[in-house]
Every structure is written in C-alpha cells, then in structure tokens.
Amino acid sequence: MSTPLERLFESTRGERAILIGYIPAGFPNQADSYRIIQAMVDGGVDAIEIGFPYSDPVMDGPIIQAAADQALRNGAGAKEVFETLKFAASLVPSLIMTYWNPIERYGVENFARDLAANGGSGVITPDLTIEESGEWISTTTAHGVNRIYVVAPSTQEERLAKVTQQGSGFIYAASLMGVTGLRTSVSSGAEDLVSRIRKTTSIPVAVGLGVSNGVQAAEVAAYADGVIVGSAFIRAVQEAPSLDAGLVAVRELAESLAAGVRSAKR
C-alpha cells in the first residue's frame, strides 16, 4: 500500500516537481496555524510538513528556532502535532518533521501508530542516523508510513547508498552544509547531490534548505522531484503586521513558488 505522499509523487512524475511547505505545530498558535496551512494549500502547496517544536533544534536557523520557541511557549506538544497533522492531511498529503527525542519519548510504536491514524504519510527525521534506526525501520514498515532521511553534500557515495536504501517516500537532499534559513542563492552543490542520490535509488528526491522564492523554486524544480520551503513561510508570518496580512503573504508566496515549480525547464 502506498501513502498519499507516494501517490502524489507518482501523479506528477515526469511533469513537474511538487511543492512542500513547512510549519511548526502551534505556530503562531494552534488555531492560526490551521489558517496558515489553508493559505499555503490555497496558494498551491502540494504537501504539508508539520514540525514538532523541539527545545534543541540543531539543524534549524534563527527563523525556525524563533517559531518553535513561540510554539513551545504556547504549549505545543505531541497532541497538537497530531491534531495539526490530521487537519493538514484532510487537505493534502502531509508528514511530520521531528528530531528524534520526541519520538523516543512518545514511544516509537505509539508515534508510528498515531501518525498513521491521523492520516500522516511519513516522518522526516533530521538527526536519526541509519545506525540508530533499527526499531524505527521495523515499526514504520509495519504501519505503512514513509521514513524520510536527510542527506547532505558531504555524504559520501558508499554511505549515501546505505541511507537511501533505508528511506521511503522521498530522499531529503539538504542543499548545503548548514542549517535551515533564507539564502540569496541555492547552493550549486544541490544539483550535484541530487544526481549522486539518483545513482543509488529510484525513489523521488526533494531539495530543502535555503529555497525562498519562485525563481529559486524553478531552479531546483529543474532537477529535483520536490522543493521544500520552510523559513520563507515563517518569515512571511513573522514580518506581517497582522495575521490577515500574514495569510495574504503566505498565499502569495505559495503562488509564486507553485508557479516556479511549474515553470521549470526539465
């Protein structure tokens, strides 16, 4: 059985890259986060990635750190993450992005079960190495959800093959060596990494880190199967004078990114 996310990639295969939008659960608060997700989807986001806000997010830059801090102050935890997932998954294929400790704390089996029960397609685990994945692999397989590993430009060939072999749904290619955030240009290393990944697996490859506008999205969509945007959406909300203005900005950004992935020359 395939997940909604896998079916989405299948349906766009050969035509265009999909657009994945990220938001931490509970940001800026639980109710408003639903409206932001709706605005993303209305603007053309194809899949939603719900972040599990975590106290020690070492892969995240200042924008997402601030959003996660705000969500944590609002008391966002596993319950809010799964509720948000349920809402997002009712609109488009959706997944969770979380550091490992919240999963371990919740219980690996419980987490996979509740992910599936709330319609989630999979989980992105940025700090889970394949060496520590034993229980995660068997449990996610049993529950029919995707395991999405993040690989980096520094990942060497032999290791890359080992990691992509364990992944499902898609492989998350980090465009550069660094943390999440806005960049003036997408690293040239990203295309090279995607082509190296493709030599090891036939599952889709999505690129994240530093993609923030339609031009960059088009650039990445020319060689990747998915484009992941997070910080740019968060910033649109953070910089808006009101929630309503933020929702307009989010929708416009989504439209521009969605146009970008459709304009890519493949």
Binding site: S55, D56, M59, Y106
Partner: protein, 399 residues
Amino acid sequence: MSATQLSDQLGHFGPFGGRFVPEALIGALDELAAAHQTALVDPLFIKELSDLHRTYSGRPSIITEAKRFSEHAGGARIFLKREDLNHTGSHKINNVLGQALLTKRMGKKRIIAETGAGQHGVASATAAALMGLECVVYMGEEDTKRQALNVVRMKLLGAEVIPVTQGSRTLKDAINEAMRDWVTNVETTHYLLGTVAGPHPFPVMVRDFHKIIGEESREQMLALNGKLPDAVLACVGGGSNAIGIFHAFIPDEGVRLIGLEAGGRGVETGFHAATITGGSRGVLHGTRSYVLQDKNGQTVESHSISAGLDYPGVGPEHAYLHDIGRAEYRAITDAEAMEAFSLLCKTEGIIPAIESAHALAGAIKVGKELGTDATLLINLSGRGDKDVHTAAEYFGMPL
C-alpha cells in the same frame, strides 16, 4: 568486551551512546574517530601529548591527604587528586590538548567550543593559542554575565567569545549553537567538545584523554598505602572528570565508584541538575543517555549553583555504569556543596571549584558511612578562584 572496553564500534555503552546527528556531520565524526584510533597507538602522538602533560600542564598531578578535613568526614582517610593544580586550573586541559593535537593532525585550522562556567572555554582558548589555531567559544549570554572574568581570560588568550541568546541562554544552548556552526563549517573546523557526552566518538575520545587521572591516582594510591582506596568520588555534570578518575578503577571490583550530581535546591523541588538521579532515558546533543525532559521530550532547564554542573544531560558511559550497577550516583544540594567548599578552605587551605565541592560533600557522607578504616580518593577537579564571586554572594560577604 572487557571491563575497560565497555563500548562497541559505534560508541554504544549498552543501550546508551551512539550517534543522533544530522547526516552532514557523519563524515567529520568518522574522520575524528579514525584520527583518534590512529593517534592512540602512534608513538609520536603519545610522546607529543605526554611531553605537553609534563612540561605544560604540570602532570602528574599530586595527591594530597586531607587530614583536617577528614575529621569532619567520620575520620576516614581522604586523599585529593589535585587536578586543580593543572595549568588553567582544572582537569579540562587534559582533553583540550589531546583534541587540539588531533585537530592539527586532521589539517584543520579552526576550533569551536562551548562553555558553561568558562573553564572549558579558557582551556580551549589556551590550547588554541599554544598551537596557533583560530578559536571561537560559544557561551550562553546568562553565563557570560555570571562568569565575566572568564570571558576576559578567553579574549586575552586570543579567542572570540560569542554570547548565545537562543533558548535558555546557558550551556545547552551554547552546545546547540556550536553544533550549528560545525554543520556549516565542518570542512575547516573541529568541534572541541568539552565533556564525555555528544555523538560517538566524543564520549570515548574525551574519556581517553582524561583517563590519565585515574591511571596516575591508582599508582599513587598503591605507592602511598599499598592498597587501593575503598571508594573513588567525583562530581558529575557531563561527567568528564568523573570518567577520567573512574576508568582505571572499573576492573577493581572492590573499589566503589561514586558520582556526585548537582542536586541544586533538592531533586524533589525540580530545580536541580541531577540527570541520573532525577532524569529519564532520552536523546540530547547527539547521544542517548539520561536527560532532564518533560513528557513531550523537551529538555528541561537544569539548576545548580555550579555553572560547570548545570547541564540537563550526562555522558552515556555514566548512564551505563549506573544501569549495570558498577557506579553509584547521588545528588548533593547547593547548600551541602557550599558547606564542603567552606570546610576545605578552612581545614586544608585549598579553595576548590564549587563543582569539585560536590565531590567533597559526597566524601563527608560516604566517610561517615564507612568509618575510620576507610580510604577515599576524591577528584579535586578544579580550583575555586573563578567562584569567589559566587561564594561571596552565597556567604553574604561584601565585595
């Protein structure tokens, strides 16, 4: 696995340890693990490090019998391993010299470090100055205020100190920020982690650089008394000085190993840093160990009068030694530590670091339990010059 080789190739100590890090760091961790393994058996490296110990840090550190102090500890004989007499004032120099040498061997020119109280930052800045490396130290903004003197020391030594304004603005956030720097600059930069936590190979490697403390003391105690001590005591934050002195004694089953954690205002109050005593299994900063965390797996802020023990995690080897029953861990409150601090000052003429005072407070308790026939070895891991402000405030002395 022998008793002294508790970990596997991936850095697991039973269910603890391992690597929970972004894939971007795996290459650098593999490179570091390989450099460490090669260096361990390279006579040139061994000689270079032992020369530095002898001619720069002041090793071997001496043992002092604390006769007047022991009168307050049930009359047990108490011996202090004087790591406070090392250059830069604590055991931290052992690890930084080893890692700085490895940095040069790996062809890297820049080191980054985290620091809480500033001791590891000062030691890192010292090693960087000695070996001509660029040094950046991340320090929680709160700690830069609490330990302003150490900030100046690091700057005098040529390091750049970056105050960390994220999260709780303490040691754990300084580690997060150092990890972010490392992910970004990993090709040119070595992360000189200051304790036996973090992803493999750090817990094993940092232990290897500190195990000289236990190796020296074991011989010194045999020479002094013709027998091993009944118990070895050390304070535990991340746990580097404790593993350093414990390690050589692990096969000696008759020797009790006792780690003293920071109990803050009391473990029952929730305001403490006693990770093994009052925490639960979890993953923090790249390793699985005991962690102070809430029901959602969010790290809970730790509390201790001692900045060097104020950390919500602990090294995975300690978690394992605890679970297999080879070492015991107890909590010492701020008040107990400060009483022992004051007592050592007045009975022995030694101002200990407040961190080490937790071990001294443990010695008072254990000494009373074991009685006059007992022999205790305490790791006096650091000197207390850095703590005079905190102590003056605590004891109500005008400055």
